[in-house]
Amino acid sequence: MARTGNKNIQAKLVLLGDMGTGKTSMVLRFTKGQFFDFQESTIGAAFFTQVLSLNEATIKFDIWDTAGQERYHSLAPMYYRGAAAAVVVYDITSMDSFERAKKWVIELQRQGNPNLIMFLVGNKVDLEEKRKVGNEEAEQYAKENGLVFLETSAKTAQNVNELFYEIAKRLTKKVPSRPTGMKLHRRPQETGRRRQLPRFPQLFVRMLVYQIELHCGPSDLKIKAALNEK
């Protein structure tokens, strides 16, 4: 099924998973070939790009590497919204991180787009002697949930490039063969705009009134009038 016209695909990819599972390390291994024993924690999110050429297409990844701690959860939707592929990472030496990965999978299934390609990745296989999450267990879970499953090591580079090639391959299959400039970003215009960020300062004032009512009972304050709210 060789195709002469080379496709150009741009795809948004997001990495999710517990803190310290190796998301940043994996991206750095893939994009720069680097690895650090003490990788700085990610605050907020980080962005990387990388181009991969396959026989049938050239894929340009826009990669969002998110912060792993539970507390940052509320920022995550804006990174996975409109993504073509999601990589959920856990650390094979931590059962907690596997449980957390399952929660991500559920959230993505519930909120993400139905065409999203999802990968489940168990990282740090170089620490085999400390393994807590069995290969079969994860594989079984992945199968039941329609995820592609891989075990990797950002440290030794095992399976890291393979992971991104696999993603690329699946993306090319999804895209109808059109010669150039396909974008797999679902530009978050429609979904993004509807959930507007809180209005400042109206919201703030409302919070203040709420605070008053919480502590002193109903307040007569005519905030709405004062702010000319509709």
């Binding site: 803190m19 650090f36 300062p201 203040l208 002193c216 702010l227």
Partner: protein
């Protein structure tokens, strides 16, 4: 597993002093040793620096005894001097004075030590200083969850700084102690990624206990708006600040604002760390320090202003870039943009009704928080709070 990681002591090779910059960070090759003051200094500059330190010493008095008096008498002199940068040798002390953390420390003798001893039986509830009874199992679980997060992050906070580099060395230990103490002190917030950078920065200038109280002063709002909203569940304050910043960009740089809208760029893609860590994460250290000087005295508005100044400085490049390049540029500002002596004057010159409105909102919020937890009579409290909000609303309906 985690336990073991803590115990196996690996004294990694320490870098030689020549590989470090003047703040103790390992130099990166690309980073051509431009770290602020290391450029050849003339005798004149040296003299001027000496004089500056002398003036500062006079201003704060022995151990900070004259500080409050001076601030009350000449707030504008203080502001001007702080904007020029606090002398590095006095920074730690002055930070404690302007943040109000010194007072907290004096008002709470022994508390820090006590927090360190704390296992998990009773928890000091934040600012209400009462002992709360909670299901002990729940508490144990929660504390240890914070603790595990802290442990996982310790070696990942300023990994290129000589003080924090050594596995279980004094730097990592004090970082752990401060963060752990805070997570016990303020159970609602606990430990949140990003706090480590605040604590780390502070620890380079003061003792553990002082750093802890400064962290408390910042998060609980001893002087300025409390920062705890940046770290609470849902990150409510981060969301507020980002949406305000978005509007400020559009107000001050309409063309860039328009370009951002077209390219689907919003501030949460590049600015959340600015607010969460007050520029202490992935910014040149000498710039971060200068921002912190002003931040502690003037409050969060400087973070908005520095952010705007960065965009302004790079404006003409930014408006030409497409999405990916734009994101990259917004996370990797050129070195000349990050020179404090260029950037900060630009930041100071940004005047905004929105920023002052924001400040006012935040002040009102702090006041109301204070009133609501106070023990004044209910009716009085309500009247006082309503008056505050009334004043605020009338300022808004004016514009």
């Amino acid at each position: 597993m985690e336990k073991k990681r803590i115990d196996d002591y690996e004294p990694g090779p320490l870098p030689s002093p020549r590989q470090l910059d003047r703040f103790g960070f390992v130099k990166q090759e690309i980073h051509n040793s431009q770290d602020g003051l290391t450029k050849g200094r003339s005798a004149y500059e040296f003299d001027r620096e000496e004089r500056r330190v002398r003036n500062w010493r006079k201003m704060i008095g022995v151990g900070g005894s004259d500080w409050k008096h001076y601030v009350r008498r000449k707030p504008h002199v203080v502001k001007r001097r702080i904007r020029k940068g606090i002398p590095d040798c006095l920074r730690g002390l002055v930070w404690q004075l302007i943040s109000g953390s010194r007072d907290l420390l004096l008002m709470n003798p022994g508390v820090y030590e006590w927090l360190g001893l704390f296992k998990s039986a009773v928890i000091l509830s934040n600012h209400k200083s009462q002992v709360v009874e909670v299901d002990p199992q729940l508490v144990i679980y929660e504390t240890s969850a914070s603790e595990l997060d802290i442990i996982r992050d310790i070696s990942r906070t300023f990994p290129s700084h000589v003080f924090f580099q050594q596995r279980h060395g004094p730097g990592q230990r004090s970082l752990y102690n401060v963060l752990k103490a805070y997570s016990v002190y303020d159970r609602d917030v606990g430990y949140v990624q990003g706090m480590g950078f605040l604590a780390g920065l502070l620890l380079l200038y003061m003792s553990e206990e002082d750093a802890f109280w400064l962290l408390v002063a910042l998060l609980k709002g001893a002087v300025h708006a409390p920062m705890e909203g940046l770290y609470q569940v849902g990150l409510p304050l981060v969301q507020q600040y980002l949406s305000l910043f978005d509007r400020l960009v559009k107000e001050h740089m309409p063309k860039l604002g328009e370009h951002f809208t077209q390219e689907m760029i919003n501030p949460s893609m590049y600015a959340s760390q600015w607010f969460i860590t007050v520029f202490s994460y992935s910014f040149p250290f000498h710039l971060a320090l200068r921002i912190w000087d002003v931040f502690l005295y003037e409050g969060v508005k400087i973070v908005f202003k520095v952010g705007l100044a960065l965009l302004k400085y790079c404006h003409d490049d930014l408006v030409k870039l497409p999405f990916e390049k734009l994101i990259h540029a917004l996370r990797n500002f050129p070195e000349d943009a990050m020179d404090p002596d260029t950037l900060l004057p630009m930041a100071y010159s940004i005047k905004s009704t929105e920023v002052s409105c924001a400040n006012q909102l935040i002040k009102t919020w702090t006041r109301i928080e204070f009133l609501s937890s106070s023990s004044y009579p209910l009716e009085w409290k309500r009247a006082a709070m309503e008056e505050r909000v009334g004043v605020l609303s009338s300022t808004f309906s004016m514009d």
